[in-house]
Structure formats: structure tokens, C-alpha cells
């Protein structure tokens, strides 16, 4: 038990299960016929939403670590990122199998011709190397390059917002809200923010959290 707590296996397991709840709810609703008149579209949207939520959650961990005394956020960063990948795979499989039913010519046309699909697909492709290198082993092997490689997630975030913005017909309020959130999360990563944060802590007479580089 002590060992479990020390290695954080238990909290991690709990978070892992929580991350599967959206899928569980989707299955539940599907089973009970609660997905409305156009279930395939509904699944497309529900899974798409969760890809975006997990991306944003993943990107929240570093700022949380920077601005708090907590150490735990960084321990969940890779897990959350992997779930973004998990849901984008579901999102894409739903598109491939249920929505298009392997109509390859249409799929290729979509990916090439429809900007919102093009950027969504690019985001999916960019997530693959990140998922593959998410193990402890890979992290060790890549060393400093790991961080460089994984800054791809910023581009993925931007592509995700573009994908959403370009697929709505007229009401772009929701994608704009998530776009603003993403912008905020990216701003936390600029030197500009670090300086601001240091200054604030300095004036407050406290120790700067940002000093303890991550």
C-alpha cells in the first residue's frame, strides 16, 4: 500500500478511470438510444470535444506547476496527452468507419480539399510521434530533444482550434472561447509571463515559484 502511494499508482489509476468516463457515457447513451436523430454526427462531436478538452487539460499542467507549489500536475501531463490521442483515434475511427464507411476516395478528397479536415488530420498525424515517445524510456533516451519534440503540442492546439472554427457554419462562439483559453495557456509559456510572475512574487516579498525551473 505504501509503495502504491509512493509511486502514485493509485491516484494515477483513478485519473485513468476518470479519463474513460466520457467514453463510458458515450457508450451508455448509444446503448440507450440517447444519441439523437443523427448518432454518427453526435459521436463525431462528442469525441471531437473530448480531444480538445484533453489537449487543453494537458496544456494546463505546466502553468499549474509554475504558479503553484504543487508537484503533481507534471505527473499527469503525459497521461492526459495520451488520452487526447486516444480520443482522436476514436474520433477518426468514427469518421472512417461509421461516417464514411471506408469510402476511401471521399476520405482522401476530404483530407486534401476540406481545410477543416486537413488541419484536423495534420493534428492527428502530429500527435502520433508524441504518443510514441511518451514512455519513460523514450523520455530518457531523447533527453533534451524530448522537450523540443513535444512542443509540437502547441501547434496541435492551434490546429485543433482552426479545425473547430472552420467546421462551424455561423456560430463560432464556442471555438472562440476555447481559442481564447488556448491562447492564455500558451501565454503562460512565454518568457514574458515568467518575468511578470517573478516580478509579482518579488513585490509580494515571497519566494518565486518560477525560480524553481521546471
Amino acid at each position: 500500500m505504501r509503495r502504491i502511494l509512493q509511486t502514485n499508482a493509485l491516484p494515477k489509476a483513478i485519473v485513468f478511470v476518470l479519463c474513460l468516463v466520457p467514453l463510458g457515457l458515450l457508450l451508455w447513451d448509444g446503448w440507450h438510444g440517447q444519441l439523437g436523430a443523427n448518432p454518427i454526427e453526435k459521436i463525431m462531436r462528442r469525441t471531437g470535444d473530448w480531444v480538445l478538452y484533453f489537449l487543453l487539460l494537458t496544456l494546463t499542467m505546466t502553468p499549474l506547476r509554475k504558479t503553484s507549489a504543487w508537484r503533481w500536475p507534471l505527473r499527469y501531463r503525459r497521461l492526459l496527452g495520451l488520452f487526447a490521442f486516444f480520443y482522436v483515434i476514436l474520433h477518426f475511427l468514427n469518421y472512417l468507419v461509421l461516417d464514411q464507411f471506408f469510402a476511401w476516395d471521399e476520405i482522401v478528397k476530404d483530407i486534401v480539399k476540406r481545410p477543416y479536415i486537413t488541419v484536423g488530420f495534420t493534428a492527428l498525424l502530429l500527435l502520433i510521434p508524441l504518443a510514441v515517445t511518451s514512455t519513460d524510456n523514450m523520455m530518457r533516451r531523447l533527453g533534451r530533444d524530448w522537450k523540443k519534440l513535444h512542443s509540437l503540442v502547441y501547434i496541435i492546439g492551434v490546429l485543433a482550434i482552426l479545425h473547430y472554427l472552420w467546421l462551424v457554419k455561423a456560430d463560432n462562439r464556442t471555438p472562440l472561447i476555447y481559442g481564447a483559453l488556448l491562447l492564455l495557456l500558451l501565454l503562460f509559456r512565454t518568457p514574458w509571463f515568467d518575468r511578470l510572475w517573478k516580478l509579482r512574487r518579488f513585490q509580494a516579498g515571497g519566494q518565486t515559484v518560477a525560480d524553481r525551473r521546471l
Binding site: 457508450l27 444519441l35 439523437g36 443523427n38 454526427e41 469510402a103 455561423a170 456560430d171
Partner: protein, 322 residues
């Protein structure tokens, strides 16, 4: 497999009043669908397309001519027709209008007739409708978003209404306007579109025998979310031409600027004829998903009404006038 089941079970409009009929069918679809598509598809909920979402209190329409125009395709279940709506005046979410329009009261209702017309005036809905015989018409409905339904409308041919108001020789177009009342239509409190919603037809399109003004569907008065109390139905055009909750009929010499064209002229035109060869810039129009079916089907020119309406567009470049 699933598709076949639904096809074989085409409901006749005259059976519609018996709710148990389509509910039994629904059970059947659910059971067979679950068996057929267990596994991956159960995730999709295809096996259980939908459940009755809410009791409806639709008022029956009496004394209309049944089955005046029909198709042998199976009807889209009424729950789907009434719970999957694009009606931004209430919500931009497709399930939203059914909820947000619950409190809307479409009575009393009056319609203004104006412009190039011999008998302008404001008419109470009842007086507007009374001189005409209501009839049922089963039409395909194809949304610009590439989904489609089959809907039994109740209404009157627009041509009969137009003749009655005696448009002048200058009347080349009919412009129609939706109610603007942000208190009653909460979606209008946000400038998602350029309110009020405007649509229009060329006068010959408006006079075409297929074009109708609907006051009901499935033998009942139009549910609020479907455009109560009066809406346009033009079955060979994309859904957004079928303007809802109409308060104005304006006869004009100039082509009206319809709302979606104003919003995005690159993506939406005035004509909006269903055309599998002219893609929406952001998605293909070659195929569509018939609500309730799994595989997409091919979209047909003029939504399958080419024999009747293609003549209206003889010699026109439909890639340009989309």
C-alpha cells in the same frame, strides 16, 4: 441491413396517427440493429436510433386532403423530424430548438403582404389560410449539411396564395421574412445571423406546383421548432431556403438577399438547389445521410425532383448560380 429493414417498413401517412405503429417499428429496429451492429456500432448507438424524447401535444389538423403528393420512401420518424432542427432563432444546436421553442406561442399570428402586389395588407393566419384546401405532401428534405429526411407536410400550394394577392407585372421575386422578436425567439439575442431571417424565390419558383406553405406535419399543427405556424417548403432546394415562422410576404422586382448569402456569399447562394456536383466549399454535397440510415446515399440532382423543376433552370450555369 438496417437500411433494408427501414425501407421495407415504409409507413403510410394514413397510419401515422397510430403512434404504436411506429413505436413497434422502432422497437424492431432497435432489436435488429443491436444484433446486426453489435460491437463497434453499438458504440454508435445505431442499434438504438432514438427513443421517444418527450410527449408532444400536437394539435390534430382536420379535413385536409391526404396523400396529395407521395413518395414510396419510408418516412423519417416524427421524433427525429421534431428533435433535429436547424432553427437558429431558438438555438444553434440541433437539439436546442425543441427545448428552447417550448414556450413559444405562435397565436395570434398575422402575415403582412406587401410590395408589387394588387392586394397588399395584413392578414390573420386563419384568414390567410381559409380560402385554400389543405393537403398532405410527402417530400424529401435535404439539408445543406448533407443529411436528409422524408417528411409528410400539411399545407397549401404557394401558387394559390400568390394568385389570390394578385402580384403586379413587376413582381419578379417573392421575399419572405421570419418573425423578429428576441424575447420570444431567444436565439435572436445573439447576432449569429443577420436578423431577421430572410429568404426568397424567383416568382416562377414560387409559383411552381411543388412549392408549398406548410402549417403542419404528420397531420398535426407545426411544432414550434419546425417553424410554427407557417413555413415554406421547397423540396428541390436545400433546407435553409425553407424559411420558418413567416410574417412577411414581399413581392419585389429585385432578387432578395437571403440571410445565408449575406452571412457568407462564397458558401451560400440565392438558388441553393440541391446539386451533387456543386460542393459546399467546406464539404462535399455528393452524398447525404438519410436520418435513420447507416450508409450515406448518393445525393440526386434537384433532390430527385428534376423531372418537375429542371425546366426552371434551362440554360443556367448552376455552378455559378448555386
Amino acid at each position: 441491413m438496417l437500411i433494408k429493414i427501414r425501407k421495407d417498413n415504409a409507413i403510410l401517412a394514413s397510419e401515422i396517427t397510430d403512434k404504436s405503429v411506429y413505436q413497434d417499428r422502432r422497437q424492431f429496429i432497435k432489436a435488429s440493429g443491436t444484433l446486426a451492429l453489435a460491437g463497434a456500432a453499438s458504440l454508435a448507438g445505431i442499434g438504438a436510433l432514438s427513443v421517444s424524447r418527450e410527449a408532444r401535444a400536437g394539435k390534430k389538423i382536420s379535413g385536409y386532403k391526404e396523400r396529395a403528393y407521395v413518395t414510396d420512401e419510408p418516412l423519417t420518424p416524427i421524433e427525429d423530424v421534431t428533435h433535429y432542427n436547424n432553427f437558429y432563432e431558438f438555438s444553434t444546436d440541433k437539439e436546442g430548438p425543441a427545448v428552447m421553442a417550448r414556450a413559444f406561442n405562435p397565436h395570434p399570428w398575422s402575415i403582412k403582404v406587401e410590395g408589387e402586389v394588387g392586394k397588399p395588407g395584413t392578414y390573420q393566419l386563419e384568414d390567410f389560410i381559409k380560402p385554400h384546401t389543405l393537403e398532405e405532401r410527402i417530400y424529401r428534405f435535404r439539408c445543406v449539411e448533407a443529411w436528409s429526411m422524408v417528411i409528410p407536410w400539411v399545407g397549401i400550394p404557394l401558387a394559390n396564395v400568390i394568385k389570390r394577392f394578385e402580384p403586379t407585372s413587376k413582381a419578379k421575386y417573392v421575399e419572405m421574412v421570419t418573425l423578429y422578436d428576441p424575447q420570444r425567439m431567444p436565439g435572436q439575442q445573439r447576432a449569429v445571423l443577420n436578423w431577421p431571417y430572410v429568404e426568397g424565390l424567383r416568382i416562377d419558383e414560387a409559383m411552381h406546383p411543388l412549392t408549398m406553405l406548410a402549417v403542419g406535419l404528420y397531420g398535426e399543427e407545426l411544432p414550434n421548432q419546425n417553424g410554427a405556424p407557417l413555413r415554406l417548403v421547397v423540396p428541390w432546394k436545400y433546407g435553409f431556403k425553407n424559411i420558418k415562422s413567416i410574417v412577411t410576404l414581399r413581392f419585389t422586382a429585385q432578387e432578395p438577399k437571403n440571410t445565408w448569402q449575406v452571412t457568407n456569399a462564397r458558401e451560400y447562394g440565392f438558388y441553393a438547389n440541391v446539386n451533387p456536383e456543386v460542393d459546399h466549399p467546406r464539404w462535399s454535397q455528393a452524398r447525404e445521410r438519410r436520418i435513420g440510415e447507416f450508409l450515406k446515399r448518393k445525393t440526386v440532382m434537384f433532390n430527385g425532383y428534376a423531372d418537375e423543376v429542371a425546366g426552371l433552370y434551362a440554360g443556367m450555369n448552376l455552378h455559378k448560380f448555386f
